[in-house]
């Protein structure tokens, strides 16, 4: 099963918790055990897993990576978003997760984040679900 999910970001840089939306797609598929491959089809966005209990964690992730990879540097690419492309490659644009009991198998403190690095924009996420 292959599905496309739509995501709307509202800031230039933010982490959006998409765990429940992805779980809804898995539930619709009716598959209870298997794997779920997620692919962000953009070059200035990414996907990651981290804590969502304390919003300060995502704040620190974005703040520190923004300090390491600043927006305004002596970049060659003239669109003003080289920082976003670099972050996309370091965070990654694909992730493969285990489906257990009809939903994503995640740790107690983990959630799935769509990483917006050059928003606000309308974004997509490809979701491939395989039973097994």
């Amino acid at each position: 099963m292959l599905e496309t999910m739509e995501i709307e970001s509202s800031k230039r840089i933010e982490l959006l918790d998409i765990t429940s939306q992805v779980n809804a797609v898995i539930q619709k598929s009716g598959i209870s055990e298997g794997i779920c491959l997620l692919h962000v089809p953009h070059t200035t966005a990414g996907i990651t897993i981290n804590e969502n209990a304390d919003p300060d964690v995502s704040h620190d992730i974005l703040e520190m990576t923004g300090r390491l990879i600043p927006r305004d540097e002596n970049y060659a690419h003239l669109e003003g978003n080289s920082d976003s492309h670099i972050k996309s490659s370091l965070f990654g644009t694909t992730i493969d997760l285990i489906i257990n009991n009809g939903k994503l198998l995640l740790g107690r403190w983990q959630c799935l984040y769509f990483c917006e690095f050059d928003g606000p924009r309308s974004r997509s996420l490809y979701i491939k679900i395989i039973s097994g």
Copy 2:
């Protein structure tokens, strides 16, 4: 097949070679060709592949990433482990490997490392094995 492996770390930050333990789980499954999805269900740990021949390589990986993402910075999160959360997202918490001839297909110099970024702790690793 879904299995949980237990890992004990002994330092705050270290790379633990778990290749043979994961291979033992694959052997137990009896599956000779397929894929093996590994998921670290923690937000201050990760998983990576690198060289294990010279221990200086893991030393340099941890030393340089610790210099880029220091423990003591002006972080918002008050638990003192924002560096661990950031590293978790940059190294990643999932990896998907090929099973060939009943074990992980790795390069000659590669081994699989569990990345402890906020130990010592008792950790888990989810292992999903799919034949194919």
Copy 3:
């Protein structure tokens, strides 16, 4: 289906667009829907997805990561390529992609890059294709 692809790099550090070569392997497999697991069996190389329309993007990715992780630092590993090992773990050596209509499902601006961090060398890429 498991295949090994050969790659020749020509610089110490470069991103090589391997999208069409991987698509050729998928086409040969005859599989139109499924997943494609790519694994770089080296510890000083990696794999990533990013833009290939403007070559300045790959230039900026390599330039900025080279500034963050310089070749000449006070490293313990004596082979002079600790920077390459560190980048290998941060970019990653595996990626899992969706096969749709007999080829890789990628975004409009995305291509698949083999990341050479310690060339020029003869390199390999493992490709595992699963129908589903």
